[in-house]
Amino acid sequence: MAVIHDVIPAFELFQPTSVDDALALQARHGAKAWVLAGGLDSFDWFKDRIKRPEVVIDLSQVKELRGVRTAGDGIEIGAMTTLTEVVRHPMIREKYGILPNAAEAAASPQIRNQGTIGGNVSQDARCWYYRGGWPCYRAGGNICYADTPTGLNREHAIFDADRCVAVNPSDTAPALIALDAKMVVRTPKGERVVDAENYFIGPGTDITKMTILHPGDLLTAIRIPSTWAGAQFYFEKVRDRAVWDFALVNVAAAMVMSGGAIQRIRLAVNGVAAHPVRLSAVEAAVVGKPRSEETAEMAGQLAIRGAQPLQYNGYKVPLLRNLVKRAIRGTAAQA
């Protein structure tokens, strides 16, 4: 009887119960190992039979990777904490409201029940050519199918393209950058703590990866310092559908006011480059200024400097401008 090999390709499954065991398995299997969190990114690849790992290390049984705890003057969120848990956690909601807002904007309720915050920030690019198995630069080939005269690039990058024009799809990533979060990474050499904005990389650094993680590395937790606890937050995601859609562009801002002026601010956007973009120049320009229409207009114009739209994503330029304006204003334009 014929055996039809049209299912998810077979792999050897490991379900470690500790971070140490997970790291040991990663070390043993090296680049052959695929680390599985909630599975929302992984199973997409597997079902399309585009990624065929020999070994899958499922982190679902590692209890120390789950949950929210206090850490120093802030909090630490285990990488395997689900997006739903992030959305519902009372302390996060009270002090770091921008993060549950961003997490709740991700995907759909069912996906948030399964998807983890570690997976959300570490997920791969969603460019439909790349995800469709086209042999593009990011997949190891020598062409970007989205960046051709006929390429379909409505969802693609307007900044920092380097052969690849895919964008980072995460909703929580800009919120974490706005909160000045730290990513806790276990490597074979020990623990490494990285600023959220430095966790993500563009194609100029490594075209095959979205984060600094190498084979053998594991994102274990995300620490949020108290620096921005209770600040004025703004998060907005523009997408085609009201639910279950990636952002066309999203924006996240944390702001502290003093005497009617912006005393300090962190501002990040996503969906415009292969990595979430912290808008440092805008931050510097608005400090000391009121949250006025004039400041917002200046910030919006500054945010789009250097944008290089492709054939079908020119709308992202005014969209980014307007979202940054809204973040500075704290609202949509009023009558």
Binding site: R241, W244, Y315, A335
Partner: protein
């Protein structure tokens, strides 16, 4: 077991063929369409020809009643994923192309949007299309004027249209109205049931269940005509091995119309047989008897018998009464089924041979209100009403579900549903629902309502027409018209209208879409 990937499913499932069109429309100052020149190009995909282009001309002709019309089309084979008919094939696309032109014309002419549709919409036995065999085709009936009037009143159109298009901060509101129609019924199918000696009615239903419950609803006609409580009717369905009659397929919005006619025919056959049995046993002529309240009784009082007793007598009489003799005109499938069921009681079997003058269409007047945000290009639907002209309402809840369900399909085409394939390689890059973007539960309108004019169609005994496909075009076009009311006529050139289209056009001050480039 064969498993298929989502990518393969896109090929097997197929998609609605897109129509690119050019319409040149002449209006009188009152808004009446004096001339219409319609030219559409249908992207057919690689396989057998779809009928969408032809259908678009037919529906535009019947729905807008142009005084003169030229229709041309080209259906082009393309190296793209396969296409096939999707609900309201061609009709939906024709309406979606035509309606924004009507909306623009109304604004240019200073004519109210509802009034402009009112002067153009069909009425009564409205003519349409070219001559066929030298004869003008026409609708069995059309009462969409009544749907527009009642819908406008329920939607408070005159109040809502005031102040639209004015920006309030980044927000702007718009209202839209659209008319739509599609074919609503066929004829010539069979009905089959048995009244058994236990007094119950055993109905054989060949209707497929698409979730619309028409597999049972159409047979309420039998219960009503026989005067039998619905609780005493048993329906057998779901498998042709269960001796079912020749039945229309579940497509083309035909079931309600076709199978209520067949139900009426077979109930009439049962009544005649009951009257004959009564006359044989109790004297007089068959027409002296009436069937009601589970009995066949002499008119004006007097002797009678229960249906249970009549069923016993039918078995004793045999022949046509218990199904051992069958009418010559029923379908051979029905013959097989009736033969298998013969001898169990009074067997009723008949073909729908009722006269039917004209082509059956159902109509919908659709109203929508949207609010758009000019800073993000996003918009959402505040309110939605679809008012249908479908003849007699068979089952209000099921009808409402159908009207709003198919409207939602049209809304999906307006707000986001699409298929994306690479122009160079002809391959679909949209392989997931988050690429093709069917509407989610949060995308449907905040408020949705429906209504029905409930004027029976004169060309069918029950008066009911089908409702499946007619709302689709209206669901799409009412949203498109509300968008142009809010944002102006120079925003979009095709559907769906997504935030990128709105933002890019607002930024450029002109339509940003290349009208002949789609699927991006």
């Amino acid at each position: 077991m064969m498993r298929i990937s989502r990518e393969e499913e896109n090929y097997i499932g197929r998609g609605r063929p897109s129509l690119h069109g050019r319409m040149k429309v002449g209006f009188s100052k009152e808004g009446r369409i004096t001339a219409l020149d319609m030219y559409v190009i249908c992207d057919n995909g690689p396989y057998d020809m779809v009928g969408d282009a032809f259908s678009s001309g037919r529906i535009v002709s019947v729905l807008y009643q142009p005084q003169t019309m030229r229709w041309r089309s080209v259906t082009v084979l393309t190296n793209t994923p396969p296409r096939s008919a999707q609900s309201s094939p061609g009709g939906m696309q024709g309406i979606a192309i035509m309606e924004p032109i009507l909306a623009k014309a109304a604004r240019k002419l200073g004519v109210d949007q509802v009034a402009l549709r009112r002067v153009n919409c069909p009425e009564g036995k409205a003519p349409f299309g070219p001559l066929v065999g030298g004869k003008q085709q026409y609708a069995t009936s059309a009462f969409i004027k009544e749907a527009l009037d009642r819908g406008a009143e329920q939607f408070k159109w005159n109040e809502r249209k005031v102040g639209t298009g004015k920006r309030n901060g980044s927000k702007v509101r718009g209202v839209g109205v659209s008319i739509s129609c599609y074919s609503g019924g066929t004829t010539g199918f069979d009905g089959l049931f048995i009244i058994k000696p236990d007094g119950r009615v055993y109905i054989q239903s060949g209707v497929g269940n698409l979730g619309t419950e028409s597999w049972t609803d159409v047979h309420r006609v039998v219960a009503e005509l026989l005067g039998v409580p619905w609780e005493k009717c048993d329906i057998t369905w779901g498998n042709t091995s269960k001796n079912l009659p020749w039945t229309c397929p579940s497509g083309g919005s035909q079931t309600t119309h076709a199978m209520t006619r067949a139900a009426h025919a077979v109930a009439s056959d049962a009544i005649l047989k009951l009257q004959q049995i009564a006359a044989k046993d109790m004297g007089g002529k068959p027409e002296d008897y009436v069937v009601a309240n589970e009995r066949v009784s002499r008119k004006g009082g007097g002797p009678g018998m229960t249906l249970a007793h009549a069923a016993q007598r039918a078995i004793q009489l045999g022949g046509a009464y218990d199904g051992h003799e069958l009418p010559a005109d029923i379908n051979k499938f029905t013959v097989t089924s009736a033969t298998a069921l013969a001898g169990q009681g009074l067997l009723a079997v008949a073909k729908d041979k009722y006269p039917h003058d004209g082509n059956t269409f159902s109509f919908v007047a659709t109203f929508a209100e949207i609010e758009a945000d000019v800073e993000t290009g996003q918009y959402h639907i505040l309110d939605f009403l679809a008012y249908a002209d479908v003849g007699t309402v068979l089952h209000p809840k099921a009808l409402g579900g159908q009207i709003l369900g198919r409207s939602t399909l049209g809304i999906g085409h307006a707000i986001g549903q699409k298929w994306v394939y690479d122009q160079q390689y002809g391959l679909a890059v949209s392989r997931r629902f988050h690429h093709t973007k069917p509407p989610t539960i949060l995308d449907i309108p905040d408020k949705m309502a429906w209504g029905a004019v409930e004027i029976p169609d004169p060309e069918t005994p029950i008066g009911s027409r089908g409702i499946g496909e007619p709302p689709v075009g209206g669901g799409c076009a009412a949203i498109l018209n509300a968008l142009s009311d809010a944002l102006g006529d120079e925003i979009f050139r095709r559907a769906p209208v997504t935030s990128d289209v709105i933002l890019a056009s607002l930024e450029a001050g002109r339509p940003a879409q290349d009208p002949l480039r789609s699927n991006i």
